[in-house]
Amino acid sequence: MSMSVTEIRRGLAEGRFSSVEVTQDYLARIAQHNPVLNCFISVTDELALAQARQADADLANGNTQALTGVPIAHKDLFCTDGVRTSCGSRILDNFIAPYDATIIENFKRDGAVMLGKTNMDEFAMGSSNENSFYGSVANPWNIGHVPGGSSGGSAAAIAAGLAPGATGTDTGGSIRQPAALCGVTGIKPTYGRVSRYGMVAFASSLDQGGPFARSAEDCALLLQTMAGFDPRDSTSSEQAVPDYSAALGDGIEGLKIGLPKEYFSEGLDGRLAAVIETAVDELRKLGADIKEISLPNTSLSIPTYYVVAMAECSSNLSRFDGVRFGHRCADPVDLEDLYKRSRGEGFGEEVKRRILIGTYALSAGYYDAYYLKAQQLRRMIKDDFQTAFDSVDLILGPTTPEVAFEIGAKTDDPVSMYLQDIYTISLNLAGLPGISLPVGFVDGLPVGMQLIGNYFDESTLLGAAHSYQQVSDWHLQVPELAR
C-alpha cells in the first residue's frame, strides 16, 4: 500500500474508497511504524478524521477541490492554528500556533486532510535530522542511517508510505537532500514562489517551502496548491503561476542540459557518479542535448552560504526570548537572566553554534569582512548560473556527494556535516528552483539526481523529471517495511 496522490484522487473521484478509509489507513501505518521511524512529532488523528469526513461529504455533493480528501503531512515549522508547531525545538515545545501559515490555508482551501506534523532538524538547521529535540528520524531503507535533513520526517514518511505527500522547506537543501537520501521526489521552488507567511523563519533570504511526493506528477499537484502571490509575505512573487500538471507532457526532447564539471569532481562518491551517468544516458535517449558547463565559484558556496544563513538566523531567532510565547526558564532573577537562560535551555547545540557565529559575523567591526563579503560572493555565484542559463535549459548533477550515512557518523564534526550541502546550497544563494528525483541505489540506499531550472521555470523541471519517471521505475521502489 503505497498509493500516489494521483491514485488517491482518482480512487476518491471514482468512489472506490472514501477519504475516511484512506485516512484511517495512513493513520494505522503511522501508528505501526512511527515508534521506529520517528517521522512525526505530532499525529493529528481527530482533526484528520474530521477533515476526511468533511471531504467525503464534499465529494458526495460534487463540491470538490484539487486535493479534496487527500491526506498530507506538514513539516512542523508551518504554523497550524490550534496545533502545536514545535520546529523540532524545546523552545517551542509548548507553542500552539494561533494562526495558519498561508500554505496551510491553501491546503485547507483545496480540501486536503492533515495527518500530522513531521520531524525535522531544530529550526531547519541540519542535514541529517539528528538535531531534533524529538530525536533522530530513521531512514526507511536502513534504520541505522539518517534520512537527511532538515525535512527528514517528511521525506522518510513518503518513503515509508506513512503519507502520500508532504510539505518541507529548503534553506540550503532541506527538501532536495532528504528526498535524495530517502528515494523520493522533492522540489524547491524559485525564491518567492511559495509564501513564507507562517513558516518559522531560519534565513529569510534563502528559505523556500515546497512539496515531497513519490513522483514529479504528484509534486506538480502539491506545488499548484502551495504556489502563488501572498500579500502577507513581502518577498512573495507576483508572477502568475502556470498549470504545472499541464506542463508534465512537455517532455525532454530538444532540451539542452548542462553538467557542471565542478559537480562531478573530487568529493563525489564514484559509485554515485556512475549511477548519475546511467540516468544521463537515459535522458540522452529521450532526446536531451547534454553538454558540459562550468560553475566556477561552486567551492565558494559553502562558506558564503554559512555566513548568510547564520547571520540571518541569529537575527531571526532573537524573537525567541521567553516573554510572549515559548519556553521560559524557572525563577529568572532579572530580564537579562530570563533571556539568557530561556534561550540557553530552549535551543539545542547546532542552533546555538549558528546563533553565535551569526552574532559574531554581524557584530561591530566584522560586518564587512563576513556578511558584506558573503553577499558579494553570493552575486558571483548567481552570475555563474545566469551565464550557464544563456546556453542551457536545465542543469543536472548529483543531489548529494554520498548516500545516507550512519546515524551518529558526523555529529562530532559540524564542518563535515555542512559539506553534505555542496550541490544544493548554491541554488538557495541564487534563488533558483531545483528538483531531486531517485535514479538508483548504492549499498541498498537511494541515490538522488538534481535538476536545476531557471527562475520560475518549475514547469520545465517537473516535465523533465516526469519524462524520466515514465521510462524508469526508481521512484516506484519501496523499502521492505512499506511493502
Binding site: 507553542f95 500552539i96 494561533p98 524559485t190 525564491y191 518567492g192 533570504s205 500579500p231 513581502s234 518577498t235 512573487s237 565558494l300 559553502i302 562558506p303 558564503t304 554559512y306 555566513v307 541569529s314 532573537s318 521567553g322 516573554v323 510572549r324 510565547f325 519556553h327 521560559r328 529568572p332 532573577v333 532579572d334 530580564l335 537579562e336 530570563l338 533571556y339 539568557k340 534561550r343 540557553g344 535551555e345 546555538k352 553554534r353 546563533i355 553565535l356 557565529i357 552574532t359 559574531y360 557584530s363 563576513y370 558584506l372 563579503k373 553577499q375 558579494q376 560572493l377 553570493r378 552575486r379 558571483m380 548567481k382 564542518v415 538557495n428 544563494l429 541564487a430 534563488g431 527562475y455
Partner: protein
C-alpha cells in the same frame, strides 16, 4: 581564525545566550573550525562586486497604510508564559 574563551563569552552575551562555563572550550573549538571554513571566502577578490541581498534583486514591496489585522490579544496571551491584566509579565526592570 581562532577564537578565545573570552571571545565566546562575549559573543554569547551579545546573543543573550547562556552557555555553561564547562562547555566554553567546546564552543571555542567548534566555532573556530567553522570560521576557518568561512575564511575560504578570502581566496577571492570581490571588492568590485555589488552585494546581493535578495536573490531576485527585488526591492521591498510597499502597501497602503491601512489596518488589516484584527485584535487577537486574548488568543495570543493564552500561549504566553506569564500574563496579568492583558499585559506580559517579566521580572522587574525599573526599581
Amino acid at each position: 581564525m581562532t577564537l578565545k574563551s573570552d571571545d565566546v563569552r562575549s559573543i554569547a552575551h551579545l546573543a543573550r545566550l547562556h552557555i555553561d562555563e564547562d562547555a566554553i572550550e567546546h564552543y571555542v573549538h567548534d566555532l573556530s573550525s567553522i570560521l576557518s571554513l568561512v575564511d575560504q571566502m578570502n581566496q577571492v577578490d570581490s571588492s568590485a562586486v555589488v552585494p546581493l541581498a535578495n536573490p531576485l534583486d527585488a526591492t521591498q514591496r510597499l502597501r497602503t497604510d491601512e489596518v488589516t489585522e484584527v485584535d487577537q490579544r486574548d488568543k495570543f496571551q493564552v500561549i504566553a508564559p506569564d500574563v496579568e491584566a492583558g499585559l506580559y509579565r517579566v521580572p522587574k526592570v525599573i526599581e
